[in-house]
Structures are given as structure tokens and as C-alpha cells.
Symmetry: C2
Subunit: 222 residues, 2 copies
Amino acid sequence: MAQVTRIPLADQAAELLLDRIRSGEWPLGAKLPGETTLAPQLGVGRSTIREAIRQLAGRGVLATRQGSGVFVTALEAPESWDDVLRRTDILAVIEARIAIECEAAALAAERHTPADMVSIRLALTARDEKRSEIESHVDADTAFHRAVVAAAHNPILLDLFDSFTPRLRGAMVEMLRLRSAFGSDEDHAVHRDLVEAIARRDAAVASAMSRTHLDSLRSALG
Amino acid sequence: MAQVTRIPLADQAAELLLDRIRSGEWPLGAKLPGETTLAPQLGVGRSTIREAIRQLAGRGVLATRQGSGVFVTALEAPESWDDVLRRTDILAVIEARIAIECEAAALAAERHTPADMVSIRLALTARDEKRSEIESHVDADTAFHRAVVAAAHNPILLDLFDSFTPRLRGAMVEMLRLRSAFGSDEDHAVHRDLVEAIARRDAAVASAMSRTHLDSLRSALG
DNA sequence: CTAACACAACTCCTCAGACAAGTAGAGAAG
DNA sequence: CTTCTCTACTTGTCTGAGGAGTTGTGTTAG
């Protein structure tokens, strides 16, 4: 089966070089042959091999130093975090979210500022008002939990939360379509208790409330 | 302060294009002006602008189609997770590690297999034998905790743990050089208790032991 | 013999020009 | 209105030339 679309020589050359790097022909930190050597060796022009090198340099695999040469800086491109999440079981993602959100709730109870409490309470009322539509309710719920994590004042926990939510959104919407036990009064009570626990700086209860909420989410998705 | 190292024009051009993309001048999916237009506009040759485009293509920001043009495929390159960690305060990293490791210890208590227990106990004895040298002791400690996280059977938690440890290693070594309260018998007892709690599937105690150990680490580094 | 200097060979960087290959739109023919 | 063809424009590739930086070698002064 021949390919319909011609792949540019520069792209082919880049893949070829990457293969030879992965094979161990040029270990980490090694210097590649000069472009004047590499170009005839692959049967392409100098500008083509240069573009291939640039492409790999953009991916962080190679680095060029004028007058010195081209060097291997990484054995392969670092895998995108989103890709890891997309490939992983959704239950594992929820467990990871439980881990960071419980801790974040405890930290939020200790560290929250008045401004944090304002945005948390605002997000809670917004969450309560949007019980009708499924998607907007999920988004409001996510926004509320994000406000809690933000009150922990830890950029890593917040980054992790933000990287988890896109993966979870679809599953949550789908789940709500089947069983609508989410917009219930009981569910709302848990969230209100969480806010109150944070407000009175009760870290243990705040953490426990988060766990309660997320455990029910896990069992619903499992 | 002028820079000592000359930055290649192609790299400068790539950064310039990336800025204009981020500024919203060319939205997602838009077609950039042709190379023959862009090159004089930036005051560089055509091959130079081509290499800049290749570089951004390697980072996933642009895509070229022969005969058609160059198109924006992503608003910005996904930031490497390592870069985020390197830039962040080390206390925040420890807090994140506390979050995932406590949860992982609890999950490990529930899910560990006989093979998990073997590797955990092996790592514990190895950790105990290497109390003399600082660096090897830190590495043995890290290996032990990694074995615990691995027993949780959650790939995301393990990936997170692996991404945290490189950032923490330097700080732990430095801390041990100052106060050597780490290779103490008390410290070893905590780890032994953690293993026993996991072995008898006591999730609450396993989580608490992890927290004890890491809290002392946090206060030592703070 | 050692150390500092000059230089030559090598590397990547940049430009210019030419032609090939592919695409998309305008215009003509049906 | 549909279809075909052709033209203009785009990226792809190659070649040749010179500029700029690095590195190692050889020379020379001490």
C-alpha cells in the first residue's frame, strides 16, 4: 500500500535520525557527524538535513552549537502529560485526584485568606444554581473544587488538578446522564459542610469531606 | 547586560513567531503569511525562516502543507512538567509528595501482592544497610518509598512520584549534610512500622506513618 | 620544558537563486 | 450549473557562496 501523501524528505530524515539516536548509535551528549557528512549519507541536500535537525532541536532531542557541532540532549521527546492521562484508566485518575484534593482541602483550611473564602462561597452558590443542565453543573462543580484547591496556595497541586479535570469531565457528564444522584440535597450538604470546615480551619474534617465526595464519585464511575 | 552568546537568527525568528501566535494575531488553525512574505518582513533569508518554522513544527505549534501554507496547530507548546517543578518552591513539591504518598500507602495496604511485599521488604533492608554514605542512603530511601507507591498499582501516582524525586534529591542530600538525624533508629522504626501496617492491610496506619515521615522531612527542609 | 600566542581546519549560520512538486482558485467550456 | 483546465501561489529541495564561532595544532617567547 503506497502512501497517498508524500512525506517531506526533511521529516523522513528527522525520523531516521531519531531512530539512530534511540538505537544507541549516538548516546546522550554525543556529537553527530557534520551536516556535510550526514547529508550525502542520507542522500539529501544540506538544507534538508538542517531542517531535520531543527525539527529535532524543537523537540528537545538535539542542540546545535555554532562552530562546535550537533549534540544529543535527550534520548527521546518527553511524553506529554496529557497523553499519559488520556491513556490511563479513569479510575486511576480519580484516585490521583482524591490524593491531591484531600491534602489540598486540609491545606486550604490552614491557609485560606478572606479572598479565598469569598471565591469559594461564590463558586458554591453558582454550583447550587446550576442543577438543571448537566454540563454546566459539572463545570460549576469543577470550578468550586478548583477554588478549594487554589486556597491551598500550592501551585503544583493546582496544576495537577487542572491537568486532571479535562480527562474527568467527559466521564462525569456521561455518569450524570445515567444516574442523576448528583444534584441531590445530600450532595449539596457535603459541599456546604466542606466549606464550613475550611472556614473554621478544621483540616481533618475538610479532608474527610473531600474524601466522602470523591469516593462516591469513584464508586459511581467504577 | 548584553548576552555573550549570539542567538541564531532562526531561533530568534521562532520566538518572534511564537510571540505573535500567543498574542492572538494568528488564531488556532489560521494560515500564516507565505515564507516569501515572512522572510523580508523579519529581515532574514528564506532558509532561516524555514528553519524557524521547522523548529516550531517540531514543538507541535505549526504544521506545513506543501502547496497550501503554514498553519497554527496549537496556541503554545505544552510546558514540560520538569520545568514546572524546577521553578517551584521545594516546600510545595514536598506537600505534593505528601498528598500522593499518603494516598498511595493506603492503597498499597489494600492492594499489595506478595511480590510487592517482597520488593518492599528488600528495599527496607537495603535502606537500613546504607546508613553510612549520605547519597546512597537518600537513594535507598527513595527506592523504598517508590516500592510502596508501586504497590498501590496506580500508574499516575507512580509517575508523579518519579517526577518529584529528582527535584527533591539535591535538597535531601544537602539537609542530611547539616543534621544527621535521618539515619537514626527512630527514623528506621517509622519505616518498619509502615511496612508492617501495609502487610496487615491497615490503610489508616500506613497513611499516618507516611505522613509522619514526610512531615518531619518538611519541617527539616523548611 | 612550559606557557602563551597565531593560525588553520572544522563546524554551524545565513543568504541568494533556481527549479520541482503540490494546492487552490479563477476562468472557460460543456 | 457543473466540470475541466490552466494559472498563480505555496512549500519542498538542491546548490553555491561567504560569515562566524570553536577547537586543536604548531610555533615562539620566556
